[in-house]
Symmetry: C2
Subunit: 333 residues, 2 copies
DNA sequence: CTGTTAGCGCATTCAG
DNA sequence: CTGAATGCGCTAACAG
C-alpha cells in the first residue's frame, strides 16, 4: 500500500514552475499563460496529480460538501429526492454526505455532529421538527440549514417544499366534489413525521356535516396499507373512498380491497399521495397527488450552493403539488 | 455569518493546557490524567469545540470517508443496500459519500475522480464492469475497492455478493421442477448491468430440449414489466410462467396479466427476484429470490473499515440468495 | 503573468 | 503524564 500520490510541489519541480502557479492552474485562475497552463496540466496527468482535499479545505475552510439527513431512504419518494440532490451537487463539484435518522431526533443530532466534524458546510433537513440542540449546534457555527418536504411561510428557518396541510385538504375536497361522503384515511406513523401530521390536519380541515372521515394509522409500507384497509373494512363497509397519504399505502389498499372482493374504483375509490414512478402502471392507474420531489432536491441543492458561494440568502420556496386524475377514483352519482 | 468555531488552541488557553494534551484527549489517548481529561472535555463543551476535520485529515492522511458509486438509488434493492452501508459506517465513525453513475462508465469515472479529490479512502463499486481508467486511478494511489452485487471467485478484485448466474439457473430449475416448460423471462436493460447479463446466462444454462425460454428486455420499472408481459402474451399464449429478474418487473407483470384477464397463478405463474419489502404483501404473495442486500451492505462496509484500520485484507465473500416459496407460482400437473 | 511567504488546525515526534 | 516544535499540502495575499 505505497500511498505515493503526487503533491503540488512534485508538479512544480517537474515543470520548473512554482507551486503558486500550479495552484492557479488547478483552480482555474485566468491570469496564467496558456502555454504554462498546458505544461502544468500535462505534468499533472503524467504524475497523476490530484489536489489534496484536506489541505485545500484547511486552507480555504471550504469542503464543498453538503449534508442531507433523511428519515429513510427506503421510501421511493426520498430516493428520488436524494438522487436529485446528488445530481445537482455533482454538476457543480459538490459532494453529498448522507445520514439516515430513522425519524429519531437523537440519531439525527448525533449524525449532524458527525457530519459537521466531517466538514459539511450546510445541512438539508427533512420536515420542521428537530431537536433544539441541533439548531444550537448549527447556529453557533453559522452553518446554514433548510427544512424540506414542508412549506411554512412563517417559519424562521427557510422551508423549501410543499404545503402538506393544504394538499391533503385539496385531496379531501376533490373526493367530496366527486360525491364521496364516507372516507377512510390511511396514513403512516403520525408521531414520526410532521408531514403526516400536517396532512391529517388538512384533511380534518375539510370536514363538514355529513362527511365521515376516519383515520387509520399503520406502518408506512405496502403491508401496512393492506392491513389498514382490512381494518377499515372491518369497522365499516360504507366507505366509498380510501385516501392514502402515500402511494405505497395505496398500493397496499388496492391489494387489500381486491382480497376483500371489492373492485376499484366501482366499489371503493382509492387515492394516493406522492406519485411514485409506478403509480400510473398500477391497475387501475392511481389517482394521486404529484409531489415535486425531484424539483425539490435540485432547488435545495442550488440554493445552498449559491449561499455558500455568493452569500445569496436562502429563499423559502413553495413547490406546488398537483392532483393527477387517473382511474382509481370514480364520481358517485 | 460569523464563523467563529472554537479551535484547539482556544481550548488549550481556556484550560491552561497545551494543544498536545487537548489533542490527546480528543483522540482518546490513555496517557492522560483523568482530571485533566475531564477539564478538557468540559472546556470543549463550553466552547462548543469540534476538531477541524480538514486539519485532522491533513495531519493523519485519513478522512474516515468511504465512497459508494451505485447505478441508481431509485430501485429499492439499492436503497436497502445503501442504508445498510450507511448504518454500518456510521456506527464506526465513518461517513458515506454517495455518487450515482446512471450505469454510465464515464460518469462513474468522473465521480470517482471527484470523490478521490474529496478524500474518499476506499470505494464500493457495483458489478464487475468498469472503465480500466478507473482501476488505474485506484491502483496508482493504492486506494482499495470492491465489487458488490456480484460473486466471482476468480476475480482479481475482491467481490462481495451473490452469484447471479447460479441464482437465475436455480430459478429456472425451480420452475421446471414445478412442471413449467414454457417460460417468458422478463429482464431490464442487459447492456447496462452485468448482473442482468449473468442472470440471462444462468437461465439459458438451465435450458434443455422441450424447454421454451423466451427473453423480453424492457425498462427496469413496473411499467416495463407490464409492457413486457403484454408483448410476451402477444407473441404466445402458451407461457405458463413469467420469470422476472426483478420484483419490480414482477409487479408490472402481475398487473399486465390482470389486464389480459389471466389469473395468477392459475393461468400464469409469476416469479420475482430481489424480495423487496412489499413482495409478500402483493396478491398473490410473490414467490421470489431473496437477495441479502442488507447483509451485503454491512459486510462490505465492515471489511473496508477493517482494511483501512488494521490492514486486514479484503475477503471475497459469497452471500447466498434463496428461493422464497409463496403463492405466485403453481405446480403444473 | 509568475514567485515568495505565511498561515490554515491539528497530530505527532521528542523532551522533560 | 504534559509541553514545545515541526510539518501535513495547499491557497492567498503580496511582490516583482
Amino acid at each position: 500500500m505505497t500511498r505515493k500520490v503526487g503533491r503540488i510541489r512534485d508538479v512544480a519541480s517537474e515543470t520548473g514552475l512554482s507551486i503558486a502557479t500550479i495552484s492557479r492552474v488547478m483552480n482555474g485562475a485566468k491570469n496564467v499563460n496558456p502555454d504554462t497552463r498546458k505544461r502544468v496540466l500535462d505534468a499533472c496527468k503524467k504524475l497523476d496529480y490530484l489536489p489534496n482535499p484536506a489541505a485545500r479545505a484547511l486552507s480555504t475552510s471550504k469542503s464543498k460538501t453538503i449534508a442531507a439527513i433523511i428519515p429513510t431512504i427506503e421510501h421511493s419518494v426520498f430516493a428520488k429526492y436524494v438522487a436529485a440532490i446528488e445530481n445537482t451537487l455533482a454538476e457543480n463539484g459538490y459532494s453529498l454526505v448522507l445520514a439516515i435518522s430513522k425519524s429519531d431526533l437523537e440519531v439525527e443530532l448525533t449524525a449532524a455532529r458527525k457530519l459537521l466534524g466531517m466538514g459539511a458546510e450546510a445541512f438539508i433537513l427533512s420536515g420542521a421538527t428537530h431537536s433544539s440542540d441541533l439548531f444550537d449546534l448549527f447556529d453557533r457555527r453559522g452553518v446554514p440549514y433548510v427544512f424540506t418536504s414542508v412549506w411554512d411561510k412563517d417559519s424562521t428557518v427557510p422551508t423549501i417544499g410543499y404545503d402538506n396541510r393544504s394538499l391533503a385538504k385539496q385531496a379531501v375536497d376533490y373526493l367530496k366534489t366527486k360525491g364521496h361522503r364516507s372516507i377512510a384515511v390511511l396514513h403512516g406513523p403520525a408521531q414520526e413525521s410532521d408531514r403526516t401530521l400536517a396532512r391529517i390536519e388538512g384533511a380534518k380541515a375539510s370536514g363538514e356535516d355529513g362527511l365521515r372521515l376516519d383515520f387509520y394509522e399503520t406502518t408506512l409500507d405496502v403491508a401496512g396499507g393492506k392491513a389498514a384497509i382490512h381494518q377499515a373494512l372491518a369497522i365499516s363497509e360504507d366507505y366509498t373512498a380510501a385516501l392514502c397519504f402515500s402511494d405505497v399505502l395505496a398500493l397496499g389498499a388496492l391489494f387489500g380491497l381486491g382480497e376483500a372482493g371489492k373492485s376499484i374504483p366501482d366499489d371503493v375509490s382509492v387515492m394516493g399521495f406522492d406519485n411514485l414512478d409506478w403509480s400510473e402502471a398500477v391497475v387501475p392507474p392511481l389517482t394521486t397527488i404529484n409531489l415535486p420531489a425531484r424539483q425539490m432536491g435540485s432547488t435545495v441543492a442550488s440554493q445552498l450552493m449559491d449561499l455558500l458561494e455568493t452569500g445569496a440568502p436562502l429563499m423559502p420556496t413553495e413547490l406546488t403539488g398537483k392532483i393527477l386524475e387517473r382511474q382509481s377514483v370514480v364520481t358517485l352519482k
